[in-house]
Amino acid sequence: MASMEKRLQKELLALTKDPPVGVKVNTDAITKNLAEWTVDLEGAPGTVFEGENFQLQFKFGSRYPFDSPQVMFIGPNIPLHPHVYSNGHICLSILTDDWSPALSVQSVCLSVVSMLSSCKEKKRPPDNALYVKTCSKNPKKTRWWYHDDSV
């Protein structure tokens, strides 16, 4: 428990001191509860999300960083993206199977930003309607099938 808090304090300090472009941690909310963060993301210039703002929610369990955080989009603007469901759940393998304790809030944010930036066409995943109706509230409980569209 203590090691999780210590690491989150470190990450918070680093992220507020030296945030990556387009990533801003909402520090006011975090001082109340270190286990839940909200991060503001900006759509990168020159991409289909230019000028848009998104909110990413992180929830950390007591086993962080051994367990991945629960990460999803929240708020009024959920990016229209083939890997983002309309309920905010994100299909990104590092959030479940490919998680490693060397990853951090910063690296997750950068992965999400790069996922958004590589998007060419704004659309929902093909199974959005069914998924949103049947999924758990916790995206980590989803059995994700990560696969390439060349398969």
Binding site: F66, H83, S93, A102, P126, K140, R143
Partner: protein, 147 residues
Amino acid sequence: MGNCLKSPNTDDISLLRGSDAGPEVSSEQSANMGPPPPYQESIPIYHPSPNVSRPANQLTEEEQIKIAQRLGLINHLPTGVFDGTSKKAKECCICMEEFLLGDMLRFLPCMHTYHKDCIDDWLMRSFICPSCLEPVDAALLTTYETS
């Protein structure tokens, strides 16, 4: 069940893991995740396979053997005390703390170094180096064969 298509250029997550990134993680690895069981802090939780967590009193015999073997493999990985002479290893990327004189360290075959307690906790779940994603046991088995 989530089933969205992954476009090839979103796979390059390895770039974010630092300059010494290891082999790229295959995007075709299919997920096999069950719902994580609720935490029970009183009973030790073991991880017989990645993404499987079970309290010690609910392990099958097969899982108990697997965990015993895993503990055996972990114990074969070299350990040492941080004496400040290593220029390369400065920080443990699991707890993000700098190594202090006297800290117990464990050295993985890929040359990545962590606090013993930090990496042992992870190795009980996964035999993949958190930094370079190199499988730890493969390297270990090769060492056995050649020596």
